[in-house]
């Protein structure tokens, strides 16, 4: 019986070693250690042995069973690991295939520019004011020192709806309205919006475009304050090393009036195609609020003074991104719009 037992052990250990996967090994387990297996049979057959041999034999069978079990488990561990490895191998994916896209949209480039400017001035304590696009002649012109018949009205070809009603030619009527509403109190506002001029559309002209204007009214507002404010704006918007220069100009609603150039952000002032070899780029018009404008809105122009400035987001976007045709802003070609997705911060 002992011989028989050893043979069984040898056989079982051989089969364990030969098993190549979990399934085979399980078959070995059932074959040798199962309820109907030969080791169990041996244990069952112990009853036929003389009583004194039983303990010894029992111990022997247990030793064999333990050894087989131990070896089987060792083998099982190896084979299980092997099985996992095989599974992982078979589950390998091509990680170069494209990811599942997250659908995103983005703001129009003009919104992007306008909001950047809004946020910059909000951080300096400005409020955002808006007004109607169909405007009264009074707010668009008369309240801004442009009475009927004034030659400077020719500077802005106007779409009239009736003699007294028009499509605003600039966002300045919002300033006039705000001044009237504030009844002589200090003001610090920025006014973005759509404006209209009687122009034929081409690469550089659009009958509809956007403007953003600023107005500050208070005690002792000086031209140096305008220059300082515009300088902060230019640096934040176009880069810390931007310089500004003011050139005299004319707007009926400001006196003195200026135009502001910034040092070219492409060449830094050396001269390139963006700045047309001058080193400077014209960005906006500005000036000290004309006393007639203040008085018409009920302000005491001897006590309160102010400055105003205005610029065109289209022009800024065109310069900043090198956009060649203003009509792109209104055609809404997806291949154009979607280029303004990524952040620049």
């Amino acid at each position: 019986m002992e011989i028989q037992l050893n043979e069984l052990k040898t056989q079982a250990l051989e089969k364990i070693a030969a098993a190549t996967d979990v399934k085979e090994l399980n078959a070995v387990r059932v074959a040798y250690l199962g309820k109907k297996g030969p080791i169990t049979d041996l244990l069952k057959g112990m009853g036929k042995l003389p009583a004194e041999d039983r303990p010894k034999m029992g111990a022997l069978v247990n030793v064999v069973r333990e050894e087989v079990t131990e070896r089987l488990e060792e083998r099982m561990e190896i084979l299980e690991e092997q099985a996992i490895n095989e599974k992982l191998q078979s589950e390998t994916i091509d990680i170069t295939l494209p990811g599942r896209p997250v659908r995103t949209g983005n703001a129009h480039p003009l919104t992007r520019v306008v909001e950047e400017i809004e946020d910059l001035f909000i951080s300096m304590g400005y409020e955002v004011e808006e007004g109607p696009e169909v405007e009264k002649d009074y707010y668009n012109f008369e309240a801004l020192n442009l009475p009927k018949g004034h030659p400077a009205r020719d500077m802005q070809d106007t779409f009239y709806i009736s003699e007294e009603l028009l499509l605003r030619t600039h966002t300045s009527p919002v300033q006039a309205r705000t001044m009237e509403a504030k009844g002589g109190e200090p003001i610090k506002i920025i006014c973005p919006g759509k404006v209209y001029r009687r122009d034929s559309d081409d690469a550089t002209h659009s009958h509809q475009f956007t403007q953003i204007e600023g107005l500050v009214i208070g005690e002792d507002i000086r031209m140096s304050d305008l220059k300082g404010t515009l300088s902060v704006f230019a640096k934040k918007m176009f880069g810390d090393d931007r310089e500004i220069r003011l050139r005299p100009s004319f707007f009926p609603f400001t006196e003195p009036s200026v135009e502001m150039d910034i040092s070219c952000f492409k060449c830094g002032g050396e001269g390139c195609n963006v700045c047309k070899k001058t080193g400077w780029i014209e960005i906006l018009g500005a000036g000290m609020v004309h006393p007639n404008v203040l008085e018409m809105a009920g302000y005491d122009s001897k006590r309160l003074t102010g400055f105003a400035f205005g610029m065109g987001p289209e022009r800024i976007a065109m310069l900043k991104y090198g956009i060649e045709d203003i009509r792109h802003f209104y055609t809404n070609d997806v291949r154009f719009l979607s280029q303004f997705e990524r952040t620049e911060v």
């Binding site: 599942r100 896209p101 659908r103 995103t104 949209g105 129009h108 919104t111 001035f121 304590g125 400005y126 409020e127 955002v128 109607p132 696009e133 169909v134 009264k136 018949g149 030659p151 400077a152 020719d154 500077m155 779409f159 009239y160 709806i161 009603l165 499509l167 200090p186 759509k194 209209y196 009687r198 009958h207 208070g218 005690e219 507002i221 000086r222 031209m223 140096s224 304050d225 300082g228 404010t229 300088s231 902060v232 220069r245 003011l246 050139r247 005299p248 004319f250 006196e255 003195p256 009036s257 000290m288 006393p291 003074t305 209104y330 055609t331 809404n332 070609d333 997806v334 291949r335 719009l337």
Partner: protein, 799 residues
């Protein structure tokens, strides 16, 4: 305004500055120089030639073979100009010469005949065709007989000059003349202004013996000066005068017309010359036009006049439209021997309205409109008389015939140096201010710390203290202004709730995958109310540029859909755009009711993961999901109500209502509309943001995260197809009571296994009690009640 630098130097020394540098100085001081044009750019080796012989080319009808004396040699040159003839002095570009545009002249053979250069037109020297005298507009230019053969054309005929193109703002009418520019440059460069010296010999006879002047409208014409010049010879002007006019952008005609234009450019004072004999009456009467009166102006147009048009008449009929253009009936021609020179001051408003009414702007009217210098009216007339005596051999009659009621006092502006410095935020010294005012030739008197400044009449733009502030600042230099920030108390800036909500909408929609578009507010009459939520009467422009942009839109969708079509036509098949912008509705008010709307248009695929084979086309429910998400974001409850609208699919359209008000619409485009726009299935939305944002936002209140589990039960129903899921949902909710927390459709089936006209809808019901864990029995009791209610209402349970 085009300013010849050579001509400018007649009045002010420009210190030999390179023109570009001079231009920069002028720009920095306030008048923008738009361009610096070198008139001789690209020109070399161009000489005076004498055509000794000229005969037809045997092989070409239009060509002539010329033997041209160019000084050293007589060269054969082939010329194609129709006006070439023997005996002419001409402009010859010799072999090796360069012409504008980089053209290089070489020896050549034309149809077998040798050609040693080119005989040039003025256009070939870079002069604009419209400025070339009419006689030479179609051929070569013929030089005066005294031109010296072989000499350089560029230097001898004043082409070695640079022109500064000034971009004048409406306030600087004073710079619409060479003298005005001279005053400006003199102030910048600290130089003197040299005025033209006017001397000529007068005849014994008085001008008044030949001419009388009456002014019936002194308001519109407070000053009228007429001079009479007789025995003149009308001919071509000398080259220097022609070239100066061309440099200034004026076409030379004859010496008389050229003199009036020259003085106009020099003084900024418009002049007009009448043929004295054609006036017939020896009288000039200035009056308002009569009803039904007409005049044929020099441009050949017959113009019907109205009562407020000011006209110059011979006492009977109009001979000129005052300040705008002369009449053909009194035009100076080569037969003219006696001329009347008019120099007048016309009221700017009168000229402006007449010029506008007749759509006629001339060099004269554009100056009158902005106001001329009252103190130059008489000197300009004298200057013209002098030039006519010199250049046309005329005899100037003694004195002038004058009507004069014009006040020409200088405006006095009083300002304190402190005011100037406080407005600028600077500390300019008093002496420096005085120096600048001196340079501008403004007379000043200082008294009690106040400056009393007499402003010359040429500077009518200077009216108030702030104007003086600008004059001081621009000549002192804007670079000298320091940079400061307003010293007032800081204020909290920010966006209004409305503006913040607009940004919330923008971020939400972009997160949902939509691109922001911007379209035009002006549209055609036809599209103005198409797909409009609340169409009103149309708002049309008085003078549209085109029918396409004639009317204000009442809906954003037509243009947004145009943008979608634009993209699909360019093979971008999936497009999802949104726009926020105003629509313009007629209301009670004088102003329009401008309402901000949101529009969305989508076509093609919503989801497209090609290699994973996951595709989902846009449909009504994609749009509905976007709107529901938006409403949730804004904390408002939108209701969807079946409806119909022209242009939308009648079975796939819903109106959006908020608190019972209809504020929007979503739907699929009608197949016909889609076909017309060349679109596949397209879903649209338009929603009034103004209405949506007007709803007050409720405070956000936190509810405790549930401590007890919820229990879910499903119910599948077979319903008639016409029964809407929303109706059933409402029924479920009311039957479920307060334990029913949520109802969700999780399956819809309309297939073969069902009876015709039926559909199966499955709902998932979530029950929850915030106070305790619900028992199975409690849920079952409520759920049975729900099922019972449904069955009683006609629904069939699906097994």
């Amino acid at each position: 305004m085009l300013v010849s630098v050579k001509w400018l130097n007649d009045y002010v020394n420009t210190q030999g500055l390179p023109p570009a540098e001079l231009g920069e100085k002028i720009t920095r001081a306030g008048i923008e120089v738009d361009a610096v044009i070198d008139r001789s750019e690209g020109l070399s080796n161009i000489v005076v030639g004498y055509v000794e012989a000229c005969e037809k080319h045997p092989e070409a009808d239009k060509l002539s073979i010329c033997q041209v004396n160019v000084g050293e040699t007589v060269d054969q040159i082939i010329c194609g100009a129709p006006n070439i003839a023997a005996g002419q002095k001409v402009i010859v570009a010799r072999p090796g010469a360069r012409l504008p545009g980089g053209m290089k002249i070489k020896k050549a053979k034309l149809r077998g005949e040798e050609s040693n250069g080119m005989i040039c037109s003025l256009q070939e020297l870079g002069i604009e065709g419209k400025l070339v005298p009419k006689a030479y507009a179609e051929g070569i230019y013929v030089l005066p007989e005294n031109a010296e053969v072989g000499t350089d054309v560029i230097t001898n005929f004043h082409l070695d000059d640079t022109v500064l193109e000034l971009g004048l703002t409406p306030n600087r009418a004073d710079a619409m003349s060479m003298l005005g520019v001279a005053y400006e440059v003199a102030a910048i460069l600290e130089e003197e202004v040299k005025l033209p010296e006017i001397t000529y010999t007068e005849a014994e006879e008085e001008a008044s013996s030949m001419l009388t002047v009456n002014v019936d409208s002194p308001e519109a014409n407070p000053l009228y000066v007429a001079k009479v010049v007789r025995n003149i010879e009308v001919k071509e002007s000398p080259m220097w005068l022609q070239q100066r006019l061309m440099a200034a952008g004026v076409r030379p005609h004859n010496n008389v017309v050229d003199v009036t234009n020259y003085v106009l450019m020099e003084y900024g004072q418009p002049l007009h010359a009448f043929d004295y004999d054609l006036l017939e009456t020896g009288n000039i009467t200035v009056r308002n036009a009569k009803t039904d009166e007409t005049i044929t102006t020099l441009d050949g147009n017959e113009r019907k006049l109205s009562l407020h048009n000011l006209v110059i008449t011979n006492g009977e009929k109009p001979v000129a439209l005052a300040g705008v253009m002369g009449g053909a009936n009194s035009e100076v021609s080569k037969n003219t021997t006696t001329v009347v020179i008019e120099s007048a001051y016309f009221n700017s408003a009168s000229i402006r309205s007449t010029s506008k009414e007749h759509g006629l702007r001339s060099d004269a009217s554009s100056r009158y409109e902005k106001g001329v210098d009252p103190n130059r009216v008489i000197p300009a007339a004298e200057r013209a008389a002098q030039l006519l005596a010199e250049l046309a051999g005329g005899e100037v009659l003694k004195g002038s015939v004058i009507f004069d009621e014009l006040k020409r006092e200088e405006k006095v502006v009083t300002v304190s140096p402190d005011f100037i410095n406080s407005r600028l935020g600077m500390k300019i010294r008093f002496e420096d201010m005085l120096d600048i005012l001196n340079r501008l030739q403004f007379k000043t008197e200082a008294m009690n710390n106040q400056l009393m400044i007499s402003v010359p009449t040429r500077r009518q733009d200077i009216q108030i203290e702030e104007d003086i502030v600008e004059e001081i600042a621009r000549l002192y230099g804007y670079d000298e202004i320091p940079s400061t920030l307003p010293e007032a108390a800081t204020t909290p800036g920010g966006l209004s709730p409305y503006q913040l909500k607009r940004r919330v909408v923008r971020h939400y929609l972009e997160g949902a995958g939509l691109l922001q578009a911007t379209t035009y507010s002006l549209t055609s009459e036809k599209s103005a109310t198409h797909l409009a939520l609340k169409p009103t009467d149309l708002t049309r422009l008085l003078m549209p540029m085109s029918e396409e942009r004639s009317t204000l839109r009442q809906s954003l969708l037509p243009h947004l859909l145009e943008s979608v079509s634009y993209n699909t036509a360019r093979r971008t098949d999936s497009v999802a755009l949104y726009e926020t912008g105003s629509v313009f509705l007629k209301g009670q008010d004088e102003l329009l009711n401008e309402e901000e709307h949101l529009a969305i248009a989508m076509t093609g695929l919503w989801l497209d993961n090609s290699w994973q084979d996951e595709k989902k086309a846009v449909d009504f429910f994609v749009m509905k999901g976007i709107v529901e998400g938006l409403a949730a974001k804004l904390g408002v409850e939108l209701e969807f109500e079946r409806g119909e609208m022209d242009g939308l699919h009648p079975g796939r359209t819903a109106f959006l209502t908020l608190e019972g008000r209809r504020i929007g619409v979503i739907g699929q485009l009608h197949p016909t509309e889609q076909k017309n726009r060349d679109l596949k299935t397209t879903i649209v939305l338009e929603l009034s943001l103004a209405e949506l944002f007007a709803e007050p936002t409720e405070e956000l209140v936190y509810t405790q995260v549930p401590r007890y589990p919820s229990i879910t039960r499903d119910v599948a129903l077979v319903l008639s197809k016409i029964v809407e899921a929303g109706t059933v949902e409402k029924l479920i909710r009311s039957a479920g009571g307060k334990l029913l927390k949520d109802v969700r459709v999780f399956d819809l089936y309309e297939g073969d296994n069902l009876e015709a006209g039926k559909k199966s809808v499955a709902f998932s019901l979530t029950y929850f009690d915030p106070e305790k864990t619900l028992t199975d029995e409690e849920v079952t009791a409520v759920h049975e009640n729900v099922v019972q209610t449904l069955v009683e209402s006609g629904a069939e349970l699906r097994s």
